[in-house]
């Protein structure tokens, strides 16, 4: 059950858990957002859990035999679903912004340009 992440010890984050908590920065961001918003009361963690269970069930029925399990993909989907349901985001807001970010000039990494 040991996994290699191709990181030198100097680059590896703290591993108090015995393995990396997150395999990519975006996984940490989406976890942090989901948790922070529930702590702020936008939804309860149980509501997030319900959305996550639904996203996992969808993933498992559509990827039954393909590829590696993408747990944090389900996390992104659950968060997006819940934010739209709560009226915090319009249903197309993320896709629109996604397109804008992709259209940025190469090397542009400023997150909040508006």
């Amino acid at each position: 059950m040991t996994e290699t992440f191709g990181l030198s010890p100097a680059l590896a984050p703290p591993m108090a858990n015995g393995e990396l908590l997150f395999e990519a920065p975006w996984q940490a961001r989406v976890f942090g957002m989901a948790r922070a918003l529930s702590e702020q009361g936008l939804y309860t963690w149980d509501e997030f859990r319900e959305a996550l269970i639904a996203a996992i069930a969808r993933w498992e029925s559509s990827h039954r035999d393909t590829g590696e399990y993408a747990y944090y993909d389900c996390f992104v989907e659950a968060l997006e679903t819940l934010l739209v349901r709560r009226g915090a985001l319009e249903s197309d807001a993320v896709s629109v912004r996604h397109g804008e970010i992709e259209a940025r000039p190469h090397g542009h990494d400023h997150h909040h340009e508006h």
Binding site: A16, R29, F31, M33, A36, L42, Y69, Y71, A88, H111
Partner: protein
């Protein structure tokens, strides 16, 4: 475009929208990540286990009402609204799963390892627990009862592993250093 960079951009899109709309303040996400990276992890569960090994009264209280017993530890991380602690003995081996998603006692163990979240573990450990335990290197005699506990929104489980032979007399801190994450999920035994 790879799925990875797709998800990375999607996450950035969500975060930038939430920031603009004032739903997330600067630094809040960073502080959650830092908390889970540095202060919420299996070392907290290990302290609870070590206390149970050295203090019989605490152990009885822990097995009787886990939630109340860990209250004095003032643990961060949440996800233990109702904690049930199950004790491994020579006759009974307990193992924990969340069949639907990834429920886990964060305050005691941090975030779950990757395998705990995998569809394979979630389905197999219920169907063939002895075989799965064997894959983790735990072989149990036939007369040992295996109990599989399925976590839920309401209940989180912690396995109280058997104290390793030869560790009697060590103080609580030294004992905590012997307790592994996997032993508290029930997929390892301490030797």
């Amino acid at each position: 475009m790879s799925d990875e960079s797709h998800q990375s951009i999607r996450t950035e899109a969500i975060e930038s929208l939430l920031m603009e709309r004032g739903l997330l303040k600067d630094g809040v996400v960073d502080s959650v990540i830092e908390r889970f990276n540095e202060r919420v992890g299996p070392m907290n569960g290990a302290r609870v286990v070590a206390r149970a090994w050295t203090d019989g009264e605490f152990k009885r209280a822990l097995l009787n009402d886990g939630t109340a017993a860990i209250e004095p530890f003032k643990l961060e991380g949440g996800q233990v609204e109702k904690l049930v602690v199950v004790e491994n003995t020579p006759a009974v081996h307990n193992v924990v799963v969340c069949t639907l998603c990834s429920c886990y006692p964060w305050a005691l163990l941090g975030l779950p390892p990757k395998w705990y979240k995998s569809p394979e573990y979630r389905s197999r450990v219920v169907r063939e627990p002895r075989k799965v335990l064997g894959d983790f290197g735990v072989t149990l005699d036939d007369d040992v009862t295996v109990k599989v506990w399925d976590s839920s929104a309401e209940i989180r489980y912690l396995v109280l592993p058997e104290q390793p032979a030869g560790s009697k007399g060590l103080d609580e801190e030294a004992l905590a250093g012997l307790v592994t994450r996997d032993s508290m999920i029930g997929v390892a035994r301490l030797t």
